[in-house]
Structures are given as structure tokens and as C-alpha cells.
């Protein structure tokens, strides 16, 4: 354990971010699961970034002459119930979810990470109260909480950002607290406290570098689950408003024509599923390589 911590401390402190990521990607590439995850993520990242430039049709353009058209040379993925090109809509269908949840994930990591570290350092009653709140949030079906928050913020997708950050940050509090607690009790942190170093300095110099990788890996996984939650909200009609192309919403809109035009709902299913699986493969491999273990926490 101490060897691992020492290694992690060196890992984070000596090298800058960029010089860590490139060798890490190289190691990930050598593992089959990492390579597959990396490829899927690369394709999805490219499609999401270039989406608007490479779509064959306007994702919103309706073609009344080609409603529910089967996949063909003109429309490789077919068209939906309004005659919109499914390929174009699928290509850009992840953008809103990724952007909204991306900002929310950064906010969640910031507040969840800070509260988690502070709870571990303070201990006592404040810590106990925070953990009871965290437990309570975990005891409810996650979707009910999301729906309450979504109903609260109304029809605005932008207003969902703080709501998502608030909810998903709760799980980060738990993970960060656990990691910070194990670092806090180590000799080098206790030595720094005994030396009389100010709390802020202990936090920044001793604790943060040693829990940063845990927080980042967890934050990345949280982001993918946020995308799931956001898609579920869109699917239920609480997230993205039509006619914006969004995977969850596309599946909801075209589910009723599944029997006659399965391509309209199945392609967004494929897009969402491959993205989530690929991203989780990548992050799991990265987490195992850095020595961050999440076998114990498979919950959403």
C-alpha cells in the first residue's frame, strides 16, 4: 500500500499532465480491452467534433417523400417518421448530451472532490452528517431524484447542468472521502500536520496529489453514467426537447414504429451502447493501470 501511494505521489507530483497521458495511452494501447476502448472512443470523439461538417443531410430537414424509408444508398441508415436522415441524426445525436454532461461532470468533480476531502480531514459530526446525506441519496432510485431535479429546473437543458452536477457529485464525495481518509492516516501527511504546516498547504501538497487520480478516474466514469442519466431523461421527455437530435430522444420518438422501421430506433441504440461500452473499457483499463480499483463500486 505504501509503495503504491509513494508511486502515485511521484506519478502526480513529478510529471506534468501531458507527459503522463501520452505514456499512459501507449500502455493502454497494449491491452486488448484498452485498444478496443480507445478505438471506439476515438471514432465517437471524431464524429462528435466533426459532426456538423460531415453529415450527409441537415439533421433537422424533413423529407415528406421519404418517410420511414428503408436503408438505401441515399440514406444508409434509413429515415425516421418525419423523413429525417437517421445517419445524420445519429452522428450529431450525442453532442448535446456530451456537452451538457461534460460541463456538469467537471462541476461535480470540483464540488464532490472538495467536500469529500474536507469531510475526511474534518471528521467528527460534520463528516457523519455528510455521509448520512450521501447514504440517503443512494437509497433512492437514481431516476426518481433526476426526475425531481428535472421537474424543478423545467424545460431548460442548460438548467439541468447544475442539477446533474449536484446529484452525481454526491457519489464523488463518497469515493473521494474514502481515498482521502486512507491518505490522511499515512505517516507523511501526519508528519506535515505535526510540522505545523497550514491546512491549505497540507491539502494541496500532500493529500490532493495522492487522491487526484482516484477522483479523475471516478469523475470520468461518473461522466459516462451522467450521459446515461441524461439520455434516460431525454427518453422520458424531461431532457432535450424535440426536434434536437439526441440518442435518448430519438429512441423514444421512433419506438412506436419499431415494427415497421426498426432502423430509426436501433441506430441510436447502437451509438449510445458502443459509446458507453467503449468509454468504460478505456477508463477501466486506465484505472487498473494507475492502480485505481473500482471492482467494488459498480453502482450507478
Amino acid at each position: 500500500m505504501s509503495i503504491l501511494l509513494h508511486h502515485r505521489a511521484r506519478f502526480a507530483a513529478v510529471s506534468s499532465r501531458a507527459s503522463v497521458i501520452v505514456p499512459l495511452l501507449r500502455v493502454i494501447w497494449r491491452r486488448p480491452s484498452g485498444a478496443i476502448g480507445l478505438c471506439i472512443c476515438a471514432v465517437h470523439a471524431l464524429l462528435a467534433l466533426l459532426g456538423g461538417f460531415i453529415v450527409p443531410y441537415d439533421p433537422l430537414a424533413q423529407d415528406p417523400t421519404a418517410v420511414l424509408a428503408a436503408p438505401s444508398f441515399a440514406h444508409p441508415f434509413g429515415t425516421d417518421h418525419l423523413g429525417r436522415d437517421v445517419l445524420s441524426r445519429t452522428i450529431v445525436g450525442g453532442q448535446t448530451a456530451m456537452a451538457v454532461t461534460g460541463i456538469a461532470a467537471i462541476l461535480a468533480v470540483l464540488w464532490g472532490g472538495s467536500v469529500g476531502i474536507l469531510a475526511a480531514m474534518r471528521g467528527g459530526l460534520a463528516d457523519e452528517a455528510i455521509m448520512r446525506l450521501v447514504d440517503a441519496v443512494g437509497a433512492l432510485p437514481y431516476l426518481l431524484f433526476l426526475l425531481l431535479l428535472a421537474a424543478f429546473v423545467g424545460d431548460s437543458v442548460v438548467a439541468l447542468i447544475p442539477a446533474l452536477a449536484l446529484f452525481y457529485g454526491v457519489a464523488i464525495v463518497r469515493v473521494t472521502r474514502a481515498a482521502a481518509l486512507s491518505v490522511y492516516s499515512t505517516d507523511f501527511v501526519q508528519a506535515a500536520i505535526v510540522r505545523g504546516e497550514p491546512v491549505g498547504r497540507v491539502l494541496r501538497q500532500e493529500i490532493l496529489p495522492n487522491v487526484l487520480d482516484v477522483i479523475l478516474v471516478d469523475g470520468a466514469l461518473r461522466w459516462s453514467w451522467m450521459i446515461l442519466g441524461f439520455s434516460a431523461l431525454s427518453f422520458l421527455g424531461f431532457g432535450v426537447a424535440p426536434p434536437t437530435p439526441d440518442w435518448g430522444l430519438m429512441i423514444a420518438e421512433t419506438r412506436h414504429v419499431l415494427a415497421i422501421a426498426p432502423w430509426a430506433a436501433l441506430w441510436p441504440c447502437v451509438a449510445l451502447a458502443t459509446f458507453i461500452v467503449g468509454f468504460n473499457l478505456l477508463i477501466d483499463t486506465a484505472g487498473k493501470l494507475i492502480g485505481v480499483d473500482h471492482e467494488a463500486r459498480g453502482q450507478r
Binding site: R132, L133, D135, A136, V137, A139, L140, P141, Y142, L143, L144, L147, L148, L149, A151, F152, G154, S224, L228, S231, A232, F235, L236, G248, I251, R255, L258, A259, P262, A265, L266, C269, L272, A273, I276, V277, N280, L281, E295, G298, Q299, R300
Partner: protein, 316 residues
């Protein structure tokens, strides 16, 4: 063990209270109330005021919170504002339906997870193991509504083996529900199997490396006997307790699974209650969800202690 049970129950109770308080104030913060939802937009001020007075919505928030909490403490869940029926009467059949769904899923998931998890562990990193862990990863990460859509396409539309939506009413006898339950139960089973199987595989791998397995092998016992009579009983408690915990976690997905299949359970009821701002019904549903979660967590703990001979000997 009794002391442990008591602390678990107490902390579970605290969790429950916190959940109920959060939901009360969350719903309070929502724009609109049951009367605006009930009377819709064309309600005039006098009508709204009369409605609010009738259901006590005109009282200040703290007063309503305390009267609601007092009623709950005496076992009264209140009356649904929109349905004008006691919440208990509405909740009970819904709870039965969701429990049926979850029970069927758990009953199918545990044997599947035990068999496939053991097989995967016996040939670690073999073809079957890799295939199984891929399926587990997909089942654990892909959202329920995507799995549901794909299963509907395969089994309801393509093969036409099962109906795509449940058209049974909430109070229907269990026999009617069983026929319609196949697809929603299959979706729930898929996620449950994934969680349970991953843990079971890891546990069996861990136990296979123990010395008692080596000793049994040296005594000349066949491998199937060692696995069946030595390793499996030892690996069972962690698997079962994780299944209980993930059943609690997977209940989160029940809301969307029920919605997709129009299944008359607690999840669809809670969803409706949020849309209608029907606080008593939502609070009741939330309380049932939270109690179930706490009970499953305690059950998981007890299972571990009861099935593990080491802890049993230590306490008696």
C-alpha cells in the same frame, strides 16, 4: 450479531428519515402544486383557493411538514389529492407488482449467475471467460431502455414470443401479470446477472487459490467434487449478499423499465406522482423504495453472517 443488526436498523432508519425530508422539500420547491396540476391552467383564483383549502395546501410549509410527519409516524400515509383515495390502497397493488417483477428477475438471475460465473472462473482467461466478461460489461453499462428496446425488437416484433407492452391493470390477479412479465423481467434479469456474475466469478477465482482446494486435490478428490462441495458453498455468501445489494441498486432502473413496458408498478406510479405533484403518493412510493433499499442492505449483511461458518462460530 444482534448488536450489529440493531445499529444497521438504526442507521437505516436515519437514512429513511433523511430521504423523506429531502423529497418533501424537493417537491415543495417545484413550481406549481397538486391543485394547479389537478385543475390545470384554466383554474381561476377562487377555485384554486378552494382546492388548496380543502387539501390543506394553504397552510405554511413547516406546519404541513409536521402534520404530515405526525400522520406518518402513526402509520397514516395520507390521502391522494388527485385520486381521492388512501395512499396505502394505491400503493399496495403497485408494490406487489414491482415485488413480483423484481422477485422473478432475482429468482432467474441468481442461478444463471452461479452457473456462468463458476464456469468462467474455472477457465480463467479462457474463451468462455472473455466472452462472459464482455457480455457482463455490456449488460452493466448499456442503459435499461436501450436493452429494453433491443429485446422488444427481437422477442416481440421479430420472433413474436412476448407482448411488447403490458396492458394489465394495477389490481389484476398475479396470474394475469405473469403472462405479461417476460420482457420487463428479462431486462431486469440481464442487469442483475451482470452484477452477480462478476462478483461470483471473482469470489470463485479467489477461493480456488486457497490451500484447502489444493489439499483436497492432493487427497485425490475429483475437481467437480471440490468445486461443488467445497468452493461453491464458500463462495455463495458474497454472491448472494452482492445480489441483494445490486437488486437494491438496480431498483433505480425499475422506474424506467416499468415506464417502457407500461408495467403497473411503483416506478410508473412515482413518475406520475411527480408530474401531478401528488405529494402523498410520491412520498409513499419513495418511502417504500427507501425501506426496500435499507431492508435489502440489511439482508445482505445478515446473509453474509448466517452463511459464513466463520462468523457463525465466532458469535455462538
Amino acid at each position: 450479531m444482534l448488536a450489529n443488526l440493531l445499529t444497521r436498523t438504526l442507521s437505516g432508519f436515519v437514512t429513511l428519515v433523511v430521504v423523506l425530508v429531502i423529497v418533501f422539500f424537493a417537491l415543495e420547491a417545484l413550481p406549481g402544486d397538486a391543485c394547479t396540476a389537478y385543475l390545470e391552467r384554466d383554474a381561476r383564483d377562487a377555485l384554486l383557493a378552494a382546492c388548496r383549502e380543502r387539501f390543506g395546501l394553504d397552510e405554511p410549509v413547516p406546519a404541513r411538514f409536521s402534520s404530515w410527519a405526525m400522520a406518518l409516524a402513526s402509520g397514516d400515509l395520507g390521502t391522494s389529492i388527485l385520486r381521492d383515495r388512501p395512499v396505502g390502497d394505491i400503493l399496495w397493488p403497485r408494490f406487489r407488482n414491482t415485488a413480483l417483477l423484481a422477485g422473478v428477475a432475482a429468482a432467474m438471475a441468481v442461478p444463471i449467475a452461479l452457473v456462468f460465473g463458476t464456469l468462467a472462473a474455472l477457465r480463467q482467461d479462457g474463451v468462455f471467460d472473455i466472452a462472459a466478461s464482455t457480455v457482463v460489461l455490456v449488460a452493466m453499462t448499456v442503459p435499461e431502455f436501450v436493452i429494453a428496446t433491443v429485446l422488444v425488437f427481437i422477442f416481440a416484433i421479430w420472433l413474436q414470443w412476448a407482448p411488447a407492452v403490458v396492458t394489465v391493470s394495477a389490481g389484476a390477479p398475479v396470474g394475469d401479470l405473469i403472462g405479461a412479465i417476460a420482457l420487463p423481467a428479462a431486462v431486469l434479469t440481464t442487469t442483475l446477472v451482470a452484477h452477480a456474475m462478476r462478483v461470483h466469478r471473482a469470489t470463485v477465482v479467489e477461493y480456488l487459490a486457497f490451500e484447502f482446494v489444493e489439499a483436497a486435490r492432493l487427497r485425490g478428490l475429483p475437481k467437480w467434487r471440490i468445486v461443488l462441495f467445497d468452493v461453491l458453498p464458500a463462495a455463495l455468501p458474497p454472491t448472494l449478499s452482492v445480489t441483494a445489494v445490486s437488486l437494491a441498486g438496480v431498483l433505480g432502473g425499475v422506474v424506467i423499465i416499468e415506464r417502457v413496458f407500461n408495467y403497473p408498478g411503483l416506478g410508473t406510479l412515482a413518475l406520475q406522482a411527480i408530474l401531478e405533484r401528488d405529494l402523498p403518493v410520491l412520498q409513499g412510493a419513495v418511502a417504500v423504495f427507501a425501506v426496500t433499499y435499507v431492508l435489502l442492505a440489511i439482508t445482505a449483511d445478515l446473509l453474509t453472517e448466517l452463511l459464513d461458518p466463520r462468523t457463525r462460530r465466532g458469535t455462538s
